[in-house]
């Protein structure tokens, strides 16, 4: 059995984190779970390639990164990956609550406006709590690139969040 060299329990224990990351990365629930499923299936298929004692989390997140890149290349994405239900709710709410609700969801809307590379780095650092070295290892990029993407992601997010209230209300991207 492969179980002695591939820790299936540890893989299952990663599922909630994979779902959290995928949800923030892909922007909608169904697409996120598809991403996680593809990742898990690949991880099981490739389990012989994982070296016991090495960082399983980084290994699995690398797989998810690769699956995401491939999916992105295949899919023609012209719309921002924001759950249309959220935008619909903002549109129908009254003035005061629309603004407040928009604040709560603006992080998600703003996140969707980052480039994929910026979003991946920001999420691995801020959500998953990876060290910059781990992020570099997971994404296969130099640490300097990690820092510049992180920096740009945060600067962009800050700009979007600051001027976000009007922008959130005028977003018409609903698919």
């Amino acid at each position: 059995m492969a179980e002695t060299t591939f820790d299936l329990e540890a893989l299952v224990a990663l599922i909630p984190r994979l779902r959290r990351y995928a949800r923030a990365l892909a922007g909608d629930r169904a697409r996120a779970d598809d991403l996680v499923q593809d990742t898990l299936e690949r991880a099981v298929i490739k389990r012989a390639l994982w070296r016991s004692g090495t960082d399983l989390r980084a290994w699995v997140f690398t797989i998810m990164h690769n699956v995401f890149i491939n999916q992105t290349r295949k899919a023609a994405r012209d719309a921002l990956p924001v759950d249309p239900a959220i935008l619909a709710e903002i549109d129908t709410a009254d003035g005061a609550s629309a603004e407040t609700y928009a604040q709560l969801n603006s992080i998600e809307i703003s996140l969707a406006q980052l480039s994929d590379e910026q979003r991946e780095v920001l999420l691995l650092v801020a959500l998953e709590g990876m060290s910059y070295d781990e992020v570099a290892h997971t994404l296969g990029i130099p640490i300097g690139t990690v820092m510049s993407r992180l920096s740009r992601a945060r600067a962009r997010l800050a700009a979007l969040l600051e001027g976000e209230a009007p922008a959130a209300r005028t977003l018409k991207i609903v698919k």
């Binding site: 299936l8 329990e9 893989l11 299952v12 224990a13 599922i15 909630p16 984190r17 779902r19 959290r20 949800r23 923030a24 629930r29 169904a30 779970d33 598809d34 996680v36 499923q37 898990l40 299936e41 991880a43 099981v44 298929i45 959220i86 709410a93 005061a96 609550s97 407040t100 609700y101 604040q103 709560l104 969801n105 992080i107 998600e108 996140l111 920001l122 999420l123 650092v125 801020a126 959500l127 709590g129 060290s131 910059y132 820092m147 992180l150 920096s151 945060r154 997010l157 800050a158 969040l161």
Partner: protein
């Protein structure tokens, strides 16, 4: 010492050794622009956690558990998005593989089962906030109206002044399938409580669960459900400290549900039980 922006990133991402952390912190504190920068980036982290951390305690769809166990071989395209617990997933569950992970059935996410975990997460996220502890302040007229509207059920914030806690305000938390309301209380010692309210869908809407307590790390959570709403009161207090407050909340909400909401509820609980009350099977106070 010469530091730069990269060090600010390192600081807020916890990437610095304790000595360096002290030095960079001091450097940041010494300049208003750097302070603002650090605060903005910290705030982003908190918003991300608040928005996405609740997913960590959601029930896992069977198709993902299957994928982890058997990969693609047996889990072909037909398994995608199929709800329902399969024999295999059930067997894995029986083998104790999933620990605290919850397996979902065809019914929606069991809100009540995950309520303590969600409430504790929400409590921890907003606990250290200074400016943004509440999104909408208590005195703002539309707080209750807004939250009741978003949850599509009547919500109220019980008064806890007798226990030293005043209502600071509230916020709406977007959940995976429905929003939740959070009320924030604080006492003069700076101790904070959060009351988490969620509207329950069938079949949970008619369930009434007894008052129960769960310790989640350093956060204690009292949970119960009644009248189609799930409640969780969270605090970094001991069970003994929280008990009287939790009972007061329970009693106040119990009364509020039965009386027309016209001003503050001032009548004390009718049955001064020593133990937290279990909801009786046939409550004579309930209207038909």
């Amino acid at each position: 010492m010469e530091f730069n922006d990269t060090d600010i990133h390192r600081l807020i991402d916890g990437q610095l050794a304790p000595e360096a952390q002290k030095a960079v912190s001091a450097w940041v504190e010494a300049d208003p622009a750097r302070r603002r920068q650090a605060a903005a980036w910290r705030r982003q982290r908190e918003l991300l956690r608040a928005r996405f951390d609740p997913l960590l305690v959601d029930a896992l769809p069977p198709r993902l558990l299957m994928a982890a166990k058997i990969g693609r071989a047996a889990n072909d395209g037909r398994m995608r998005r199929v709800a329902g617990v399969t024999t295999l997933a059930a067997a894995c569950l029986a083998a104790g593989w999933f620990g605290h992970a919850l397996v979902s059935s065809r019914a929606p996410v069991d809100i009540l089962a995950t309520l303590p975990a969600r409430a504790a997460v929400a409590h921890r996220v907003y606990l250290p906030e200074v400016r943004h502890f509440a999104e909408v302040a208590a005195h703002e007229e539309h707080l209750i109206r807004w939250l009741s509207r978003r949850l599509a059920t009547k919500v109220s914030a019980p008064t806890l002044i007798e226990h030293g806690f005043r209502l600071v305000g509230g916020r709406l938390l977007p959940g995976e399938d429905r929003p939740m309301a959070q009320f924030l209380y604080q006492n003069d010692a700076g101790k904070r409580l959060t009351l988490y309210v969620v509207a329950l869908a069938a079949p949970n809407a008619t369930r009434e669960t007894a008052f129960r307590f769960e310790q989640r790390g350093e956060v204690g959570v009292f949970v119960w459900s009644e009248d189609g709403r799930g409640y969780a009161l969270s605090g970094s207090l001991t069970r003994e400290e929280m008990m009287p407050v939790a009972r007061a909340v329970y009693d106040a909400l119990n009364l509020a549900a039965k009386e027309p909401a016209k001003g503050p509820v001032i009548e004390p609980a009718k049955s001064p039980a020593v133990e937290p009350p279990k909801v009786p099977a046939a409550d004579p106070r309930k209207s038909g």
